[in-house]
């Protein structure tokens, strides 16, 4: 359990997530307008843009929370457009939320125990029938070990028995990422994981993300903070008014006139 396994060939250029022509309209407003981009395996890719650029909507479209009006989302070679959120999560593409959504009246341990996929006891009869419950208990014990490892990795084991609703904003972000990891994903979509997090905790979260990326996880990160993205991502996608404005390395983005225009509010 503790040995970390290298993900499949991080050196090979491989794109687990491909988005093509993604479009979403709300009434007369086109929130996302033909967004097309790819995310490379084992990288930390940044998705930036000013407020209202369509970043969160794009996230919701990718993860099935919203269904697109046009376009496709391909994950690991499979078209996942329009699937239910749970189906997408079960394929290994898991998201966190912009505002941390801890399950407040459940303890941190309960929150974490919820996450692992395909738990035997999620079938009512197995949890209730005396003959079958033994198997459920056995699996719960395995899961609990994994949960403790994850809590230690994120250094929140001292909060284990606490109700998640009592955690600070930053702790909730840690909990949410730890919980998402327990679903055993291939790729994580993080929606502003640093919003409302103090600088110390922010650095810790970033360290965790870099560690996990080194282990082979793929990240797509929505973020407001330009500097943070520029310093941590190898590849940056810029959205503006629902469209992909440009993409490239942080250096390329920094010197791009259109990006500066968009951020400084030059409304053409």
């Amino acid at each position: 359990m503790s040995e970390s396994i290298t993900r499949s060939r991080p050196d090979v250029a491989d794109t687990p997530l491909r988005v093509e022509g993604l479009t979403k309209r709300f009434g007369g407003i086109t929130a996302v307008d033909g967004a097309t981009f790819e995310v490379e395996r084992g990288t930390l890719t940044g998705l930036i843009g000013p407020n209202g650029a369509g970043k969160s909507t794009t996230f919701n479209l990718i993860t099935g929370m919203l269904s697109p009006d046009a376009g496709t989302v391909v994950f690991d070679g499979e078209d996942i457009t329009g699937l239910e959120p749970y189906q997408i999560a079960n394929r290994g593409l898991v998201r966190t939320f912009q505002i941390a959504r801890e399950l407040g009246e459940m303890t941190v341990l309960e929150n974490m125990m919820l996450a692992p996929k395909h738990q035997r006891g999620e079938h009512l009869w197995r949890s209730v029938l005396p003959g079958a419950r033994g198997g459920v208990v056995e699996q719960e014990e395995e899961l609990l070990d994994r949960v403790w490892e994850a809590l230690e990795f994120f250094e929140i084991e001292h909060l284990a028995e606490e109700y998640a609703g009592n955690l600070s904003g930053g702790q909730r972000k840690l909990l949410e990422m730890a919980r998402a990891l327990l679903t055993d994903p291939d790729m994580l979509l993080l929606d502003e994981p640093f919003a409302g997090v103090n600088p110390t905790l922010e650095q810790r979260l970033l360290d965790h993300i870099h560690d996990l990326r080194d282990q082979g996880y793929t990240f797509l990160l929505v973020e407001h903070d330009m500097d943070l993205i520029m310093n941590n991502c190898r590849h940056v996608i810029v959205m503006h008014q629902g469209e992909i404005l440009t993409e490239g390395t942080p250096e390329e983005i920094k010197s791009n006139e259109a990006v500066i225009e968009a951020y400084l509010g030059g409304d053409v």
């Binding site: 939320f97 609990l144 490892e149 284990a160 291939d186």
Partner: protein, 466 residues
């Protein structure tokens, strides 16, 4: 730790046990009723009768509160159509288990299918669960308040269906190819002319001898016709057994990965879905299970009553169950049982007892017949007696007012119910650090040295379930 050695510490430890809490509460309630019975000067027969009916109502309200707790307390499903599922339970049970029309010299207007009572009970529960499925399917995809509207509308549809003359009586094909006269009796009600379920049950268990012995034993204390008393006492005990069974079932349901997902749905359904849980499936299973349990509660409430009428199932009964659940504390099975017991003893039966006690202690005269004569002496000569008497006489009606006041008070002062903000952990094992080794206080500044939470390598999730 030293706390446990002192007597108060031991008591506190005992109190932490759910069974002890429930037992202590029941003890207080029964003691209160016995004392008020003494005040009333009840005979032994009267005492036993009052205990039996108290037990009956504790039993039915506790089972209903437990079932509703699965819906609301665990899954956050706002079901205000409890009576509808109860009605379907007992009516379908009656339909299946009433004797065939014209058989056995029954005076009933319509017959049933004449199948054994256990088959009827099973059919009633299945029917309630299926109705739950039909109600839930469109509503579960909507927000919680829509489910509420759908459920209360459904419960009224059920009531009016059983009231309608169309279903009062009709022909139903039997296995032998003929048809038999069946029906739901319409507004005049349905006679439950199957054999006494309790006696049949005791017979199946082979305890008839013991039961007869009990009747003879009670006969020594209550010489006159001890049979009905023993019957209702034993039925009350059976109901308490059913409460225990519900409790066991729902505790196991809650303390499991299944219950954990239900709780997550209650807290934030989007999160559960984002973590790969097919929340619709969980909601439907939870809803159907609760509905089946409500159907059984309806059967247990009414199958010994001789007859059933649709207007028994007015929406206010649903709200009684809600009050019971809120008193006890939604989210807690122990709280549901305690809430059911307190509701039955204090709010449901309590006012009548209060009326009886006051009347027998003070022996007041006759109450005024209407509001005018009750209020005029108070205004003209400041004589409050007629008004007080009138109030006491109207306790049945005022009961609803009292319930409303209690509900408002609870919402303001103790929305989390009697047991406080208590949560029953949703896991099949006690959560906590296991093994005790590997101190976490290594203070490592290097997160790389920590084990990764990651397990198997190839998790492409290709076999995701749909």
């Amino acid at each position: 730790m030293s706390d446990t050695e002192t007597p108060t510490g031991t008591l506190r430890q005992l109190w932490a046990e759910d069974a002890v809490k429930i037992a202590a509460l029941l003890f207080v309630i029964y003691a209160g009723y016995l004392v008020s019975g003494l005040v009333l000067g009840y005979s032994v027969r009267g005492q036993l009768n009052s205990l039996a009916s108290l037990t009956f109502y504790i039993g039915v309200f506790a089972t209903l509160a437990l079932a509703l707790n699965l819906h609301w307390g665990y899954t956050g499903l706002f079901n205000i159509g409890v009576v509808g599922f109860m009605a379907v339970g007992i009516y379908v049970m009656a339909f299946v288990s009433k004797p065939l029309y014209g058989a056995g010299g029954s005076a009933a207007q319509v017959g049933g299918l004449g199948l054994p009572i256990p088959v009827g009970i099973f059919a009633g529960m299945i029917a309630a669960a299926l109705l739950g499925f039909v109600v839930a399917l469109p509503a579960l995809r909507l927000r919680a308040d829509y489910l509420a509207i759908v459920t209360i509308a459904m419960s009224e549809i059920v009531r009016f269906t059983f009231l309608s003359s169309t279903f009062q009586q009709f022909q139903f094909p039997t296995l032998s190819g003929e048809s038999t006269r069946v029906g739901f009796g319409g507004g005049s009600g349905l006679i439950l002319d199957f054999p006494d379920p309790l006696l049949a049950f005791i017979d199946v268990l082979g305890l008839s001898g013991a039961y007869d012995g009990l009747v003879r034993l009670v006969g020594q204390v209550v010489p006159n016709n001890p049979d009905p008393i023993v019957h209702s006492l034993v039925y009350g005990l059976v109901l308490l057994g059913v409460v225990a069974a519900y409790f066991w079932l729902l505790k196991r349901t809650g303390e499991s990965p299944f219950g954990r997902v239900l709780k997550a749905i209650r807290e934030d359904e989007d999160v559960a879905r984002a973590l790969g849980k097919n929340t619709d499936r969980f909601k439907i299973v939870s809803f159907m299970l609760g509905c089946a349990l409500m159907g059984l509660a309806g059967i247990l409430w009414l199958m010994g009553q001789g007859a059933v009428t649709p207007n028994f199932f007015r929406p206010r009964l649903t709200f009684f169950v809600w009050i019971a659940l809120i008193i006890g504390g939604a989210g807690s099975n122990t709280g549901s049982v305690m809430g059911g017991a307190v509701f039955a003893a204090v709010l449901y039966q309590g006012p009548l007892y209060f009326q009886n006690v006051v009347t027998s202690v003070f022996q007041p005269g006759d109450a005024p017949g209407s509001f005018g004569p009750a209020i005029s002496p108070l205004l003209s000569s400041a004589d409050p007696m007629p008004f007080l008497l009138y109030t006491l006489d109207s306790v049945r009606q005022l009961q609803l007012v009292v319930m409303g006041v209690v509900l408002i008070w609870l919402m303001h002062n103790r929305p989390q119910g009697m047991l406080g903000h208590r949560k029953e952990t949703a896991a099949a094992i006690p959560l906590g650090r296991r093994g005790g080794g590997a101190g976490p206080e290594s203070g490592s500044s290097d997160p790389d040295s920590e084990p990764a939470p990651q397990t198997d390598g190839d998790g492409t999730g290709g076999a995701a379930d749909e």
